[in-house]
């Protein structure tokens, strides 16, 4: 992921480390779902980079999920960062069309900003 220029890639790299911590393991226990994120630099559906946040196994990987993820989200890089940092509420994002969801609604509802670690500032 290091070669990606997306902001989301930076956050997901941190997420990868985060999942190895106790708090991250707690997430796996608490949520236990697989999310696929299709992140577009400018416009949903274009030049998407696909990441899988596997909260069953506690992994973050690049590329589509082999199998059926519980929920798939599509958003722009910037909007994903807004959602993950609590600037934008996921429901709001969905209603505004800033986020598209495929899969189980109940799984989608567990996709909240507290899943993601907050980057500390230098």
């Amino acid at each position: 992921m290091a070669n990606s220029t997306l902001k989301s890639a930076a956050l997901l790299d941190q997420m990868k480390l985060h999942l190895s911590s106790d708090a991250g393991k707690g997430l796996v226990k608490k949520i236990g779902l697989v999310y696929q994120l299709n992140i577009a630099p400018k416009k949903i559906g274009f030049e998407e980079e696909i990441y899988v946040v596997d909260l069953k196994k506690g992994e973050v990987t690049k590329g589509p999920y082999k199998g059926k993820p519980d929920a798939t989200f599509s958003f722009k890089d910037e909007d994903f960062i807004k959602i993950a940092s609590g600037k934008m509420n996921p429901q709001m994002a969905f209603m505004r069309g800033a986020m598209k969801i495929k899969g189980s609604i109940s799984a989608a509802q567990k996709f909240t900003p507290d899943i993601f670690p907050k980057p500390s500032k230098l």
């Binding site: 902001k7 190895s20 416009k43 960062i81």
Partner: protein, 754 residues
């Protein structure tokens, strides 16, 4: 006196008793119109026209346990029993609003049909038991008696019920409830709000009349209502009621069958259905309540309640006529208007239903008669009807019907649940996705166009916001504007650690000297320490414009863009730092800056670090670079090397801490932050970072305290507010979300002291 004065309300023609309007004509018109609308209400209020909720849904009590969902209460009233006879009986019955019979009946009804707000099915049954025993062995307890709380809640329920039917709510005599001023205030405010919910389809006067009746009955002064309703407080009122309900009624669970059995047992004692009727007659005498009602009715009419509005109008007209007659202008004296007002004042004209009529036979007498005619013989026929009804159904019939309906409802409900669970949510979502996909390919290209348009708009907005980013936002009301030397003041404040104050002073400086790179730079640094990277970037860019080669500015821009996860930007500025460095500039070929690759830049810096391993700055930039590439271990090493050279650089300690935190070494991170804070206690960024560290470890309570601390020092740190919100909801402190959303630091600091 001129007409103009009359209309505009000169002092000479003030009408006593018209507090709201200083305009006598207006007052007259008001009272005329008011009286006619009141007249209509009174008409509505006539008994017999009343269709009230509880009595019509005689058999619907069976679903009381199913209806314990909040918000279900009002719907219950919609249920209408098919047996028209029974409901007709009851309708008439209910008309005798405050006769003992109606109350007794309601009391017996209530257990079967729990009124509003009763959550938890068992409550009604105990009440039922009690009422039933009382009701059949001795006197049925009147509704509006008993402990004050009960009376109040019953009374309020009846108010709510009146909403379901649109029938005006009759006044009631209540025992002294001993309500405190606060309670009264509470009831007053809430009932006026509630009424507007209930009677959304009714006119304002109607609502006011309803509320006034309620308040009057409760002996609450309605004048204070002017305070104005607060919309959307409905749940609170309900809560309040539930509280009062819960307080008085012990929770004992009786299975539903229990009371059915008991009911039939009891009933078999009084196997003759007419016994009930007889008992009632014993209590009240045959036709007792009917005559009582008639008495009441005639009392009402004789009290001229209906007419009082007309009286008031007359009084006003008299006053007005008096004022007018003092005008000596003969033209005016003979005017039609004057004549009209005079006639009115003498009662020769009355205003009825917005029409002026000559006063003939006082209309309210007519009403009374009309009513009597309508209901002649009705009282006995009601009783008969009831008895028939009883006979045809048999009491057991009721119980059976009830349980049958229960079963029916039960099965229906199960079905519903099953059906709902069959609706696979996944399928739904997928289907939706399919539809959208088809739509895109198929007919609804119009729709797609619309959406694309929207997207373009969004794009435009985004570009706008991108360009507006980097534009510095000045605070308004800056006390340092006009300061003789704001830069010096700002430096002083910054040194003292009063960052938010320093920001103001430095803003004053750059307003005064927009070309002062040092002012902009220090402003940027201050914003960064204050945990506001957006503003930091904006001011640093101004500094960069003025002085493109300032190394500190370039480094700060690199750091801030790194924090904002803007990798390309960050890399550009960090490379610029190398380019413009007097010592390492030769390492960086200028033509490379167009297309930067991280690995190349990192390689160059490593080379620089080899050249002069004692230059802390090179290590710092390297540390930032490795943060950018998420090589946190290397970044930590670089910062640690730099710290050996600059151990008292608090921002360096914070950088180390942040890097450790990002690579999930939270314990070490907290130590580093602590170092930074020891050196600079007001370092907002370090406080906020500590909050982040705790939050990332799942220690939300602790994180809240640090966020609040950071925000207390800089309430403009938006990120910290957002993170605080997340932590509050994760720590199940939703009670504090409102304080967070309204940015109420006082409340938050009191609740979460550090």
């Amino acid at each position: 006196m001129s007409m103009r004065e009359l209309v505009t309300g000169g002092a000479a023609c003030a009408v006593p008793g018209s507090s709201s309007s200083s305009n006598p004509l207006g007052a007259l018109a008001n009272s005329l119109l008011g009286s006619s609308s009141k007249t209509q209400e009174k008409l509505n209020e006539l008994p017999g026209t009343a269709v009230t909720g509880p009595s019509t849904s005689l058999y619907s009590g069976g679903d009381n346990q199913l209806s314990t969902l909040p918000g279900f209460e009002n719907e219950e009233q919609e249920l209408r029993h098919p047996d028209a006879q029974a409901s007709e009986f009851l309708r008439g019955f209910r008309g005798a609003d405050h006769g003992g019979f109606a109350d007794a009946w309601n009391e017996i009804q209530r257990p079967q049909l729990p009124p509003h707000g009763l959550r938890g099915g068992p409550l009604p049954y105990t009440e039922f038991d009690r009422v039933y025993e009382n009701g059949f062995q001795s006197q049925p307890p009147p509704t509006l008696d008993g402990p004050p709380g009960m009376v109040l809640s019953n009374f309020l329920h009846s108010f709510m019920r009146s909403s379901g039917t649109g029938v005006p709510f009759g006044p009631a005599m209540l025992p002294v409830l001993g309500l405190s001023e606060r309670d009264k205030l509470c009831i007053r405010d809430r009932s006026s709000i509630m009424a507007r919910h209930f009677f959304a389809d009714k006119s304002e006067e109607f609502i006011n009349a309803q509320v006034n009746t309620l308040l009057h009955s409760l002996d609450i002064d309605s004048d204070f209502r002017a305070k104005g309703p607060i919309p959307g407080r409905y749940p609170e009122l309900e809560e309040y009621w539930n509280e009062s309900q819960g307080a008085i009624q012990p929770v004992i669970h009786n299975p539903a069958n229990g009371w059915i059995n008991e009911f039939s047992q009891q009933k078999s004692l009084h196997s003759d259905p007419e016994a009930w009727v007889n008992m009632f007659e014993q209590q009240h005498g045959a036709k007792g309540w009917a005559s009582e009602f008639q008495q009441e009715q005639s009392q009402m009419t004789s009290m001229n309640q209906i007419n009082s509005a007309n009286m008031a109008a007359m009084e006003q007209a008299r006053m007005l006529a008096h004022t007018l007659s003092q005008n000596n202008n003969p033209k005016f004296q003979n005017s039609k208007f004057h004549q009209f007002v005079s006639k009115m004042s003498r009662g020769e004209l009355i205003v009825d239903d917005n029409q002026i009529k000559p006063a003939g036979v006082s209309s309210h007498v007519g009403w009374a008669e009309e009513y009597q005619q309508q209901h002649k013989g009705a009282p006995t026929s009601w009783v008969n009807e009831f008895a028939q009804n009883e006979l045809s159904h048999g009491t057991n019939g009721w119980a059976k019907e009830f349980s049958a309906e229960r079963e029916l409802h039960g099965s229906v409900d199960d079905k519903w649940v099953q059906e709902f669970s069959k609706l696979n949510v996944n399928d739904w979502a997928e289907e939706f996705g399919h539809q959208v996909g088809e739509g895109v390919l198929g007919e609804s290209s119009e729709w797609l166009d619309g959406y694309n348009e929207y997207l373009n708009e969004q794009q435009a907005v985004k570009q706008q916001s991108n360009s507006s980013r980097g534009v510095y936002l000045f605070s308004d009301m800056n006390p340092y504007v006009g300061h003789p030397d704001p830069l010096k003041e700002g430096q002083e404040l910054f040194r003292k650690g009063l960052l938010s104050e320093a920001v103001l002073a430095l803003e004053a400086e750059v307003i005064k000297n927009p070309e002062n790179a040092e002012g902009w730079r220090l402003l940027g640094i201050t914003h960064a320490e204050n945990d506001d990277d957006q503003q930091a970037i904006a001011s640093m860019m101004r500094a960069h414009e003025v002085d493109p080669t300032n190394l500190e500015v370039l480094l700060a821009l690199g750091v801030s863009h790194t924090n904002e996860l803007e990798q390309a930007e960050a890399l550009k500025y960090l490379y610029g730092w190398l380019q413009h460095h007097p010592k390492y500039g030769t390492l960086a070929p200028p033509e490379q800056s167009a297309s930067l690759f991280f690995a190349d830049v990192a390689g160059l810096f490593n080379e620089a670090a080899r050249l002069s391993p004692d230059d802390a700055d090179v290590h710092i930039v390297l540390g930032v670079l490795y943060n950018l590439s998420r090589e946190f271990d290397s970044a930590i090493k670089s910062f640690q090397s730099a710290l050996k050279l600059k151990p008292r650089d608090y921002s360096l300690w914070n950088k180390l801490g942040a890097t450790q935190a990002n690579s999930v070494q939270s314990a070490d991170a907290l130590l580093a932050y602590q170092q930074a804070l020891d050196l600079k206690p007001n370092y907002v960024r370090a406080w906020a970072n500590m909050g982040i560290s705790f939050a990332n470890q799942g220690l939300y309570e602790d994180s809240i305290r640090y966020y609040v601390r950071a925000l207390a020092m800089n309430p403009k740190a938006d990120n910290a507010w957002q993170y605080l919100r997340i932590s509050l909801s994760c720590a199940s402190r939703n009670d504090m979300l409102e304080a967070c959303d309204s940015r109420n630091l006082d409340v938050l600091q009191r609740e979460f002291p550090l």
